[in-house]
């Protein structure tokens, strides 16, 4: 269990994380989503022990991560732009990590090196952005950590490699009970792998729950009324968003599906259909609820 307790981080006057708390169950794939500058990367750096928080703690199995090599050995962090020296190769970095991570799996390293289209003796700096991420992933997966922290890992990867990575991550979760924390704006990819999501905005948690539960808690309905009900009537239903296209209204409503259906039926619509929501739509809806929507940005 990874527990984030009242984490606060300040960069001068800027406070990207403000008293943030939630926990991530062991063996889950946790999607960390949020607006730009919401503190996702900062949170990952605090979890991995790169940054020291200004308040609160991050604990893995009850032990703090900061300045704790025993706990840090269970984590592997790939930042949004993995760093390599000019002369770094996958092979010489593997020699570094091999001795630093007691869980290093050499056979797995060899297998991964063959699986990804990378020459481990080539200088990583000469590789493309996507290849560099693959190199970092080979090292992270071969280190066989209990916690893998990935920041924007899908950026620059082709769809096939994205599929491969998702498969490998799922395999690690299934076989070793590895916990994967992925921060990304690519919600489509997250939707495929995550079983939990955490939505953070302006340093705080807006939502942290299982993906299915998140999706079940918000619904989209397409309805056509003979006569449009008054705003007051709709607002009683916890409607987050309304879009109109002619007579057709698309409502995004929070709450229990049956109760929502019952409430709308009471308004005697001519047509009503409940539609499934994507993670992206959940994200937009939740963010709109806190005032972060395109209309607010444009004005």
């Amino acid at each position: 269990m990874l527990e984030i307790k009242n984490i606060t981080k300040k960069f001068g006057d800027n406070v990207p994380l403000d008293n943030l708390s939630f926990s991530i169950p062991t063996g889950s794939v946790f999607g960390l989503i949020g607006s730009n500058g919401s503190g996702k990367s900062t949170l990952l750096r605090i979890i991995s022990g790169v940054y020291q928080s200004d308040g609160g703690t991050v604990e893995i199995d009850g032990m703090p991560t900061f300045e704790n090599p025993v706990v840090k050995e269970q984590c592997f962090f790939i930042s949004d732009f993995p760093y390599f020296y000019n002369d770094s190769t996958v092979e010489n970095l593997a020699s570094l990590y091999r001795d630093l991570y007691s869980s290093w799996d050499q056979e797995k390293y060899i297998a991964l090196s063959e699986m990804f289209p990378i020459n481990t003796k080539d200088k990583i700096m000469h590789m493309s952005k996507g290849m560099q991420r693959q190199a970092a992933l080979i090292l992270a997966l071969a280190a066989n950590p209990k916690y893998i922290l990935l920041d924007e890992i899908f950026d620059g990867l082709d769809p096939v490699v994205r599929q491969l990575i998702k498969k490998l991550l799922m395999g690690m979760v299934a076989e070793n009970g590895t916990t994967v924390i992925i921060s990304s704006h690519n919600l489509r990819e997250l939707e495929d792998v995550c079983d939990h999501i955490g939505l953070i905005h302006r340093g705080g948690v807006i939502m942290e729950k299982e993906l299915d539960e998140a999706k079940l808690g918000i619904h989209r309905l397409q309805v056509v009324f003979r006569e449009e009900p008054e705003e007051e009537t709709l607002s009683q239903m916890n409607v987050v968003n309304i879009r109109r296209q002619g007579k057709m209204m698309t409502l995004t409503v929070k709450g229990n599906a049956e109760e929502i259906e019952k409430a709308v039926s009471a308004l005697e619509p001519v047509y009503m259909e409940m539609l499934p929501l994507t993670l992206e739509e959940v994200f937009i809806s939740e963010m709109e609820a806190v005032g972060y929507d395109i209309n607010n940005i444009i004005k």
Binding site: R45, K72, P82, Y83, L100
Partner: protein, 638 residues
């Protein structure tokens, strides 16, 4: 905690990593060392091949010292490059992510990078230098000196590396590390230089010369430590040597502790560009401004660019130049004017106030100009090349010094002006005055004893004063008569006589030296004015060179000199001349030039050059008994 860190596996791996990260530096430095060794080998081969007939050992020894000094310089240059490169991972957000997430503590990261980088510089340096020391070990003492120089180099590397590492943890960018390391190394030395220059420009007796004898100037310049240790070692300045060695070690330990603390407290996010320890660039900016202002201020005041060279003109120029320098430095450091201008300005203002305050204190309020050491606290004193250890002579020297300081205060404006001769316009410079001065005060006017004083005190402390700039001794401010009498007393002392004519009393020296050319007895005849103005004739005769004769001669002269109550008259024209049968002034002199036996080099010469007046009865009888002198007292066989 630190020892535990050194033994853990992550330290070992990261140490290797940091060492390998410096492989370019190791290769380049090793190649340069090999080239140096080849050069040394070639020179040694040349020396032996052309059968060098000079001081071969001395030349090899010099070659060893020069080569090892160059190696030290190289080691420190590579220390700078290596430290910047090794700790550059702190200044890139992405590399901070990589290293920060590794399963290692910050202490481990600091120690492994520090020791790995230092080893990368130390290995080629030590290896190459050891080879040079072994190649030149044929020169007596060269191996020991070489090993010591290698040690100085190594502790210098440690001090410089730990300092740069500490700076790296305090800065947000590698560019700042470079700027701060360089400016910090020169700024403190610069402030000391400014204050000392000011004292030397204003206070009579203080010279820049003594600045180079004090380790104070390089107290915060770790990249200069090694060279300072070399200097004090070779010039046998024991106290300064011990001080600098202790200081280097202490400094390295302090920087190590500070670096370790900075590493633990370091905010990783400062790779984004913020400087953590704000005082460091602020201090460097202030010091740099002060140094620029101070040096230009002293120069302008001394040259009389404005005003009469008083403190006011210095302060005027100081403020203008230092403020311009501050603005420029701030612009360079901050890449503009917005960042921390007000705190920097306040720091600059405080430093300026301190420097001006110190300037006034040092040049007007601390009694430096009138200070004469208490004779009881002085173990020895040197006036020029003559050294006195006898308490009576030390007291006499302090009395001479006292007379000079009283003369300065009596005649001159206080506080003093910048410039060497301001306020000292009363010289014996008219021809008749000058001649009369010379006649009246022959010892003083001949500059027989130097006008510089170097007092050696307890724990190796020294006090130095030099009054040559005031046209000493032709300065009417001084009580010349009193100085002349004190000088007579000083040169009449047994200590002075023995030091001046060492070969007469030092039997061991006698056994080691031999006449370089035949010893000579000279009779100088001064012709009276009507015959030839100021002319003189020399009549010379070679003396036997055999040791038995010379030993007898030395003993006779020694006995006469020691018994001579008016020895000072032998040194100058005190009217102690003999008058020959023609009524002409004559002097009888013994001149012997001595060099070490079995050596062809042209150094280490001694000489015996002494006048033999009629009262030197032992010497004259000895010369008579060997039939060198024939008639009366001063004639000799020609």
């Amino acid at each position: 905690m630190t020892l535990t860190t050194l033994s853990n596996k992550s330290f070992g791996k990261l140490f290797q990593w940091a060492f390998k990260r410096n492989k370019t530096i190791i290769i380049v430095f090793s190649i340069l060392m090999l080239l140096g060794i080849t050069g040394v080998l070639y020179m040694l081969f040349e020396l032996h091949a052309r059968e060098y007939n000079g001081d071969l050992s001395g030349t090899i020894s010099s070659l060893s010292v020069s080569a090892l000094s160059v190696a030290q310089f190289g080691a420190l240059a590579f220390t700078f490059l290596s430290a910047i490169r090794t700790f550059s991972f702190l200044h890139n957000k992405r590399s901070v992510d990589m290293f920060g997430a590794l399963p290692a503590t910050r202490e481990t990261l600091f120690l492994s990078h520090l020791l790995g980088g230092m080893t990368a510089v130390a290995v080629p340096y030590t290896g190459g230098s050891l080879i040079v020391a072994l190649l030149t070990m044929s020169a007596p003492g060269a191996l020991g000196t070489g090993l010591l120089m290698i040690l100085f180099g190594l502790i210098g590397i440690a001090a410089a590396y730990t300092f740069t590492a500490m700076v790296a943890y305090c800065c947000g960018t590698s560019a700042d590390v470079v700027i701060i390391t360089l400016t910090a190394n020169v700024s403190f030395a610069g402030i000391v230089l400014v204050l000392y220059s000011m004292m030397a420009s204003m206070i009579p007796g203080i010279t820049m010369h003594s600045l180079w004898h004090t380790p104070l100037i390089a107290l915060l310049s770790p990249y200069a430590f090694t060279f300072l240790a070399d200097k004090y070692y070779f010039s046998s300045e024991t106290a300064s040597f011990i001080f600098i060695l202790v200081w280097i070690v202490l400094f390295a330990v302090l920087m190590f502790a500070a670096g370790l603390r900075a590493a633990k407290k370091h905010k990783a996010e400062c790779a984004q560009g913020e400087v953590i320890v704000k005082w460091m660039p602020v201090t460097v900016k202030s010091c740099g401004s002060v140094v620029c202002g101070g040096l230009i201020g002293i120069g302008a005041a001394t040259a009389g660019v404005s005003g009469s060279g008083n403190m006011g003109s210095f302060v005027f120029w100081y403020l203008i130049v230092s403020f311009i320098a501050f603005i420029i430095l701030h612009f360079i450091f901050s890449r503009g004017f917005k960042s921390k201008f007000i705190p920097s300005l306040i720091a600059y203002g405080c430093t300026t106030a301190v420097v001006i305050g110190l300037s006034f204190l040092m040049t007007t309020g601390m009694g430096i100009d009138t200070y004469v050491p208490d004779p009881a606290s002085v173990s020895s004193v040197a006036m020029g090349n003559d050294e006195f250890k006898d308490p009576d002579n030390i007291k006499t020297v302090t009395e001479i010094h006292q007379v000079i300081t009283e003369g300065i205060r009596k005649e001159n404006t206080y506080p003093y002006y910048f410039g060497s001769d301001q306020g000292y316009n009363t010289y014996y410079n008219e021809e008749n005055e000058y001649n009369s001065f010379q006649k009246q005060y022959p010892l003083l006017s001949s500059g027989f004893l130097s006008n510089s004083f170097v007092y050696n005190k307890a724990f190796g402390f020294t006090t130095e004063r030099d009054y040559s700039f005031m046209y000493y001794p032709y300065n009417k401010s001084f009580d010349s008569e009193r100085i002349e009498l004190l000088l007579q007393k000083l040169v009449n002392s047994d200590e002075y006589k023995k030091n001046r004519n060492e070969v007469l009393w030092n039997k061991e020296l006698r056994s080691r030296v031999t006449p370089d050319s035949p010893p000579t007895l000279v009779r100088t005849v001064y012709l009276p004015e009507p015959y030839a103005e100021g002319a003189q004739n020399d009549y010379r005769i070679d003396l036997p060179s055999d040791e038995a004769f010379l030993n007898g001669l030395y003993d006779a002269i020694a006995e006469d000199i020691l018994a001579d109550k008016e020895y000072y008259k032998c040194l100058t024209d005190y009217g102690d001349e003999e008058v020959d049968e023609f009524g002409m002034d004559t002097k009888l002199m013994v001149e012997i030039s001595l060099r070490p036996k079995d050596q062809n080099n042209f150094m280490d010469y001694y000489s015996l050059n002494t006048r033999i007046p009629t009262r030197y009865t032992h010497t004259l009888s000895y010369l008579h008994s060997h039939q060198i002198l024939t008639d009366g007292t001063t004639g000799y066989i020609s």
